[in-house]
């Protein structure tokens, strides 16, 4: 018999996320993985600045709130002093790919043995829908009101593609949570990203294409459609690097 219940690692508190936002799904997937791997007691989460700023209220493991973009550096500080603990960051696109680019790239290059859950919803949700480093060409946001134009706002960043060039990254996969099938794939990726850390393989990042119905000005169902029709073609799903699977050398620490 299958009983649908709240994962143990997920706190019994209502979340503050908007209706139709997929943060809730991703939180649940992370919590399920923590349960299944039995690592809650040894896990420390690092929350970002962004919509997931209160992530520390939603998980039962220890948690710390980082300043904007610095989560990979904070995670480095925890992991390097407690190599036997499981450390993960949960970051949005502005946090990880704009203000925190240096921390992201260098934690990746060093091959920090941490797990990064990266939410890409193509805009700054918490501050009300401004342009993000992942905002797509032509996409309208409050700070690209005429659509993102290459000559004015420049080009977006493809995070998984970029990070997969770095030797320290053990695993980078882009997933989506816009359908049951994709949610299942997302969970598998998240689990692998945590298992890699247990196996001391280096940095693992899972980029999750997410919705932001409120700031996109869409209904939750239209937002899911937007992911399918606009985002996935621009940000293709899949494994960008899996150095272990390819038999590549891990960075030597």
């Amino acid at each position: 018999m299958i009983v649908y219940k709240r994962p143990e690692a997920l706190s019994k508190v209502p979340m503050h996320y908007c209706p139709g936002c997929t943060h809730g799904i991703v939180h649940r997937l992370v919590a399920e993985v923590i349960d299944e791997l039995g690592i809650e007691a040894d896990t420390v989460g690092v929350a970002p600045v962004g919509c997931a700023v209160f992530a520390y209220n939603y998980f039962e493991c220890d948690f710390i709130e980082a300043s904007h973009g610095r989560a990979p550096a904070v995670a480095t500080g925890i992991k390097r002093t407690h190599p036997d603990k499981i450390v993960f960051t949960y970051q949005g696109d502005g946090d990880l790919a704009a203000i925190g680019t240096a921390e992201t790239v260098h934690a990746s290059a060093r091959g920090e043995n941490i797990t990064i859950i990266f939410i890409n919803n193509t805009n700054y949700g918490m501050t009300g829908g401004q342009m993000a480093p992942t905002t797509m060409p032509g996409q309208v946001t409050t700070t690209s009101p005429y659509g993102r134009q290459k000559m004015i706002q420049g080009n977006p960043i493809h995070v998984c593609e970029m990070l997969s060039t770095l030797d320290g990254v053990a695993y980078a996969e882009r997933v989506a949570v816009n359908s049951v099938v994709n949610v299942r794939k997302a969970k598998k990726a998240i689990k692998k990203a945590f298992q890699n850390q247990i196996d001391k393989k280096g940095l693992s990042i899972v980029e999750v294409l997410s919705t932001c119905p409120t700031n996109w000005g869409m209904s939750p169902t239209d937002a899911l459609k937007f992911v399918d029709e606009k985002m996935i073609p621009f940000y293709p799903l899949g494994v960008y690097v899996d150095r272990n699977a390819m038999g590549g050398e891990q960075s030597d620490k």
Partner: protein
């Protein structure tokens, strides 16, 4: 072991390791790079870690994470790099975490120079980060004190769960003096039940955050911290009173300039001028009460600094207009000589007599 001849920067690093600090995160910048080099050499031998970060910003956030997970940790930099750290310092304060930060000051603003300076006094004592916050600031004036105050800094940081800034300068960092490491005293590291390092199924989860969206929650958080600052002000003020009690002219000076001023005081005494030196060892908390007390007996104060007049305003606040407060300073990396300070003393005493 007898005394060793060692650079100020290296003395800090060695004292930190002996204090039980096994983790150092930093970024190279003149004139404090020897610390990272010393740490890189020594940390692996004590089972510790020295990690060169991609930036000062990353380094202080690594310190933030490490401190939050319950270990003794430090970083160091020089003026421009300390500015970069200010964001992380504010978070560390906001989360009531202990850590030790060393600023081996050089001249500013901007890229400035690399020679000794005390022009980050305001930054250190007033605003090394946004928000209602204070740091504990120690000002060594010899290499031996660089070592001892580093050891003290870890104790104070853990006791009050607050960052301690050691405010040195390029001369103190680069110069060698004899240090007796066996004479150092240390404070053992306390238990840290608040740390985020996995609840191990034995306690409720710990959360470390500086975010309080409700004004009343943030206010009460700040008020709690203010109580702590009050205790610190009542118990932790440190200074050296050198011949101040019968002095007509009290020089107030810290760090490298306090040594120069002390020589000037000795010369002035030989000339029959009753001068004294009040050397703050803690810049925050500031020895306000002692200065107020001395304002009853002294005729004038002279603040001697390597800047355009920063600490002098704290001296004025302490003296409360009871006596004139003068200022003498050099900036940009030049030091004054003891003769220069003596000249100021003579000038002031001429005005008095």
């Amino acid at each position: 072991m007898a005394k060793v001849l060692i650079k100020g920067n290296e003395a800090v690093a060695e004292a930190a390791i002996r204090s039980g600090c096994k983790y150092y995160f930093g970024y190279p910048i003149t004139p404090q790079t020897e610390i990272a080099e010393y740490m890189a050499k020594k940390m692996p031998k004590v089972g510790g870690l020295c990690l060169q970060a991609e930036s000062e910003v990353a380094a202080i956030n690594m310190v933030y994470g490490a401190s939050a997970s319950g270990v003794r940790v430090m970083t160091s930099s020089s003026s421009p790099g300390i500015s970069l750290k200010s964001e992380g310092v504010s978070y560390i304060v906001g989360c009531d975490l202990p850590c030790v930060i060393l600023n081996v000051q050089r001249g500013g603003p901007g890229l400035g120079g690399i020679q000794p300076s005390q022009s980050d006094y305001y930054q250190a004592t007033k605003a090394l980060g946004h928000g209602d916050m204070q740091l504990f600031v120690l000002a060594p004036s010899s290499v031996q004190e660089m070592a001892q105050l580093t050891a003290d800094a870890f104790g104070v940081a853990d006791k009050y769960r607050m960052p301690v800034l050691i405010l040195a300068d390029g001369a103190l960092g680069q110069m060698m003096e004899p240090v007796d490491f066996d004479a150092l005293h240390f404070t053992p590291e306390p238990e840290k039940p608040w740390a985020v390092n996995g609840h191990a199924g034995k306690r409720k989860k710990n959360i470390i955050t500086s975010l309080f969206l409700k004004p009343e929650e943030l206010e009460s958080n700040i008020l709690e911290r203010e109580k702590k600052y009050k205790t610190v002000r009542e118990n932790e003020v440190r200074f050296e009173n050198y011949m101040c009690d019968d002095a007509d002219i009290v020089i107030v000076s810290f760090g490298i300039t306090a040594r120069i001023s002390k020589a000037a005081v000795n010369e002035a005494r030989k000339k029959g001028i009753k001068a004294g030196l009040l050397r703050p060892i803690t810049l925050s908390p500031f020895p306000t009460d002692e200065l107020y007390r001395l304002s009853g007996s002294a005729s004038a104060f002279l603040s001697v600094e390597l800047n355009m007049g920063q600490m002098v305003n704290d001296v004025k606040l302490a003296v409360q207009c009871r006596k004139p407060v003068h200022f003498y300073g050099r900036t940009g990396g030049s030091l004054m000589s003891s003769e220069d300070v003596l000249e100021q003393i003579i000038k002031i005493s001429g005005g008095l007599l």
